[in-house]
């Protein structure tokens, strides 16, 4: 057994070694599963949403989270929610909701709801859960509703997709800049290296939020949601590439001195071949680790900007926009469940951090 293992060990590629070592890191493994689950959830956001996240209804304003009852009175498995009646308090003019347990609204699995595009390819209107014969104002309000009566669970699903992909797109741009500038800096050295290093230092010593805010505020009001989305992503990644560039440069410089690089050089390999065939594979795992540590920072940036009202703008939905509703204490006192949207933010960021730590430890499989 040990014999086979060591044979496998000897011929394994760098990424395989990293993976084997990473698997031993339990917290990081759990985090990876969690991150994958979140991305899965992002892919099927509309399918998991129970009602149209944009649909407003004044009759469902600020409904507290409502449980789903799994069993009927006779003990059979028939998930349902109770009917809700809103009565206006004639003294305060506030809608007061009372649960009517006698009226049951049954849940339909894989039923029809609002239509959406799955994977942006085909249109469908199937959802995981919808209501059978709902009356107006009925809904599955697992997380309650906001001021405009929109279902928070459905909004959170769509927001997760937006916030998680912004992180991915942003990191891709940062990665491109970082690998390019870090690589150029290391390969050419000399004046080029000095200039790029000074630029990195200057960018790193600037306060980011005021600059982001200033740039984001200048985006024209008539831009579409998609245009704003990409503009914000670019603004965030413009200041976030420096860490990746430092990692790439450091690794490049360290590897340049390695024997196998010299061997390749003596064997007459071209510079491109040395970089892409020999050097890149051996620090790919470091880059993956750096990326997974850069992603949560990216997500926090978008959330902060949108939270301040200068990132994505409604009707776009993102974590920051959801939290924006929870910004003042009056609203929070009235509808504390608005703060529930903070939980996925914290969980995802934590998971990415553990994942990144695990990857970083695993990136040196011989260490």
């Amino acid at each position: 057994m040990a014999q086979i293992d060591s044979e496998k060990y000897a011929v394994a590629t760098q990424l395989q070694l990293t993976w084997w070592r990473f698997r031993r890191h339990r917290l990081a493994m759990v985090s990876m599963v969690l991150v994958l689950l979140f991305y899965l959830l992002a892919v099927f956001a509309d399918f998991l949403a129970t009602t149209d996240p944009h649909a407003t209804d004044a009759r469902t304003s600020y409904i507290a989270p409502q449980p789903i009852h799994l069993f009927d009175d006779d003990g059979s498995f028939r998930p349902h929610v109770s009917g809700i009646k809103g009565v206006r308090d004639m003294r305060t003019f506030k809608l007061v909701y009372t649960v009517d347990p006698s009226r049951k609204v049954y849940i339909d699995f894989f039923g029809r709801g609002y239509s959406y595009n799955l994977f942006g390819l085909f249109e469908t209107d199937r959802h995981l859960m919808t209501l059978k014969n709902p009356e107006r104002g009925d809904g599955i309000f697992i997380m309650g509703t906001d001021l405009l009566g929109r279902d928070l669970w459905s909004r959170l699903m769509v927001a997760t997709r937006v916030s998680l992909t912004i992180g991915l797109v942003g990191v891709t741009i940062s990665l491109f800049l970082g690998v390019l500038l870090g690589g150029v800096s290391a390969v050419y050295g000399g004046l080029v290296d000095t200039v790029i290093q000074r630029i990195i230092e200057v960018v790193r010593s600037m306060p980011t939020i005021p600059l982001w805010l200033g740039l984001a505020a200048a985006l024209p009001n008539d831009w579409s949601v998609l245009q704003i989305y990409f503009a914000i992503t670019i603004i965030i990644s413009l200041l976030a590439w420096t860490d990746l560039a430092r990692v790439v440069r450091g690794k490049f410089l360290a590897l340049k001195e390695e024997d196998f690089v010299m061997a390749a050089e003596l064997a007459g390999a071209s510079q491109g071949r040395i970089i892409f065939r020999h050097m890149l594979p051996s620090f790919a795992s470091h880059i993956i680790a750096a990326v997974s540590l850069a992603l949560p920072a990216m997500i926090i940036s978008e959330t902060s900007l949108s939270f301040l009202g200068l990132g994505l703008r409604p009707p776009a939905i993102s974590w920051g926009i959801l939290l924006q509703d929870a910004q003042n204490i009056q609203t929070l006192a009235l509808a504390p469940w608005l703060l529930l949207s903070a939980i996925p933010v914290v969980v995802v960021i934590l998971a990415f951090n553990f994942l990144g730590d695990g990857l970083r430890d695993a990136a040196d499989p011989y260490g």
Binding site: R198, E201, V202, R204, S205, M206, P207, T208, I209, P210, L211, L213, G214, L215, A217, A218, P220, P296, I300, T303, S304, F307, L308, G309, L310, L323, A326, Q327, I329, L332, A333, P336, L339, A342, V345, V346, I349, L350, N353, F354
Partner: protein, 329 residues
């Protein structure tokens, strides 16, 4: 050592220059020239601007001329202390900003001190008592500090203090002190209100520094010279504080230069949530209202403040760590 200071100083000047260009870009970004916007705003509020006045304004700001000329004129006036006028408030920008810039500085600096004074002892403790209950507890708090964006932390603390104590934690002054002129009583009031926002602001950076300090010190503690020191019979405190801690401080030091920009940045968003009278809320309001001179000036001042703060923290570290002093020669 002189070379190091000069290098840092030059880099600081370069950064300030870059920030001034960016601030000017931010001022210029909204469509249309800002004299048009200014005139529109004035006529909306009922006052008229004659064509001659408009022309003199355009000439003053060099509108219609190339970007670098406009930038040059703007920079020249800034150096004489004229930051332009806030369109929304109809008062000079410097007057609108007033004390707020100093309160921002105070808050960021307090958070910096707090970060240092928390991260150092906790980092040392966590490394020396590795895998103890306290180590795990601090690690957990550290992860929370990293994972919870500080505005979220501010929101949650605000909510729970409202639920449990029925009071709002916001503000840097109590209600009766807000408008009072500066006095000893007001300063004392400020000191009483400062710790909570500073702590909220400091937690993220502290968490990171604790982790760095712990990791570095753990590496150092395994070195043979530590064994030698112990074998010589030095007391445990002396063994740890005298050598490994000082050695572990080095990478810690290089990170601190980036801590201050991070804190200034964070103070903006924390101030908005907690309603602190710093430049944060003013900046966001100015940007939303496209009051560009005010916004640009705030970005510039924050940038300059950051650079100065970073430079000072570099000097402090040089003074503390002899190796930085000698390495740079």
């Amino acid at each position: 050592m002189i070379a190091f200071i000069t290098r840092r100083l030059l880099l600081g000047v370069l950064t300030v220059w870059l920030i001034s260009v960016l601030s000017f870009v931010i001022i210029q970004l909204p469509p249309g020239d800002f004299v048009d916007a200014y005139i529109a705003q004035l006529s909306a509020s009922g006052s008229q601007v004659s064509a001659a006045e408009a022309d003199s304004l355009r000439h003053l700001y060099g509108l219609g001329e190339p970007f670098y000329v406009q930038y040059g004129k703007w920079l020249a006036r800034i150096i004489t202390g004229d930051f332009g006028e806030s369109m929304e408030w109809r008062r000079p920008v410097t007057e609108v900003i007033g004390d707020r810039i100093w309160l921002t500085l105070l808050l960021s600096f307090a958070a910096l001190l707090l970060t240092w004074s928390l991260a150092l002892p906790i980092g040392i403790f966590s490394a020396v008592r590795q895998y103890s209950f306290a180590d795990y507890a601090f690690t957990l708090i550290g992860f929370i500090g990293i994972a919870v964006p500080n505005f979220l932390l501010a929101l949650v603390i605000m909510y729970f203090s409202f639920v449990w104590f029925g009071t709002s934690v916001g503000g840097l002054f109590s209600a009766e002190m807000t408008l009072a002129p500066w006095s000893l009583a007001k300063v004392w009031d400020l000191m009483k209100h400062l710790p909570l926002p500073a702590l909220i602001l400091a937690l993220g950076g502290t968490a990171q520094l604790i982790r760095i300090m712990r990791a570095n010190l753990l590496d150092e503690l395994r070195r043979p010279y530590v064994v030698t020191a112990r074998a010589k019979g030095l007391s445990e405190t002396r063994v740890i504080v005298k050598y490994p801690v000082r050695a572990a401080l080095n990478p810690f030091a290089s990170n601190i230069a980036y801590l201050f920009p991070y804190l200034v940045s964070g103070s903006i968003i924390v101030s908005i949530v907690l309603g602190l009278p710093t430049v944060g809320p003013l900046l966001v309001k100015a940007l939303v209202a496209q009051d560009m001179f005010l916004a640009g000036t705030i970005v510039l001042l924050l940038g300059v403040m950051t650079v100065v703060g970073t430079f000072i923290s570099d000097l402090v570290l040089m003074w503390v760590d002899p190796r930085i002093r000698h390495q740079m020669d």
